[in-house]
Symmetry: C2
Subunit: 131 residues, 2 copies
DNA sequence: ATTTATACGCACCAAAAGGAGAGTGACTGT
DNA sequence: ACAGTCACTCTCCTTTTGGTGCGTATAAAT
């Protein structure tokens, strides 16, 4: 089967896989996850507070939560040094890096097409905003 | 600048573009948006209630809301036939189809790597679940 | 006269997400 | 003795999200 655009669309999608994939995308597309992914890609290995500063505006709660999720999913590696005061380092795993690479396409699409989207929004407003 | 993975990372990202792109991805990665994108790709032109049935489990409120958003952003075209009872048809625009294509990479990544993710989750549970 | 069908809008409510700020444990520097 | 550091955790509190059910217009069908 082919879509009107001509590109291939899987005929039947395994619903279990679909559910799982959707879940993953949902998490990954999360605001903080993407930001953290970016800063870790740029800076390599970082510790907790550094990530917090570099992402900017994230609360400690969200930082911990997001980092835990990413660790759980195998995107980041968490290294604890048993010193005092505590020291914990975070860095991307290969899986995490491959995720960033996969999302690059969406990034590029959004960068290439955002003008079209904004134009569509303007047109929409004009049609429905004041009418 | 290059990431440890060797793939190119944009050096400086325009924060305005970044914000916009993040917003778009956030919306698009939404559960219902993705589902509707899929059914419209598969079935071409559909009307309101048909989309509701095919997506399965969506409330009318969310269906309307998501569809409006997609129309606003230029992903779907909405055609109203002034008949009674009302008839409204929806179909993807070229922009909508290109969006689906862009997300394909993420889909494929998730499909290819979901086993790794599940393994990571299991390992994580074993480390932290009972310990 | 009443029911049915369609594509919604609106008001209300429950659940979830997320922010703010205080507390913790143990050592180190003053 | 006492404040400072780090990586959290815990408890409120507010905001957001999403579901449910009701209302609506109008013509055709019963």
């Amino acid at each position: 089967m082919r879509s009107p655009s001509g590109r291939e669309i899987p005929d039947e999608i395994d619903p279990i896989l679909e559910e799982l994939v959707r879940g993953i995308i949902g998490q990954v597309a999360d605001k903080w996850t993407m930001l953290i992914l970016e800063v870790l890609e740029e800076h390599g290995t970082l510790r907790f507070t550094q990530i917090g500063k570099l992402t900017g505006g994230i609360s400690q709660k969200m930082l911990t939560q997001t980092l835990r999720q990413m660790e759980r999913d195998g995107f980041v590696q968490r290294t604890v040094y048993p010193v005092i005061p505590p020291k914990v380092e975070y860095n991307l795993t290969e899986l995490g890096r491959s995720l960033g690479a996969a999302f690059c396409a969406v990034w590029e699409w959004a960068a290439a097409r955002h003008a079209d989207i904004e134009a569509a929004r303007k047109a929409f407003e004009e049609r429905n905003g004041k009418a």
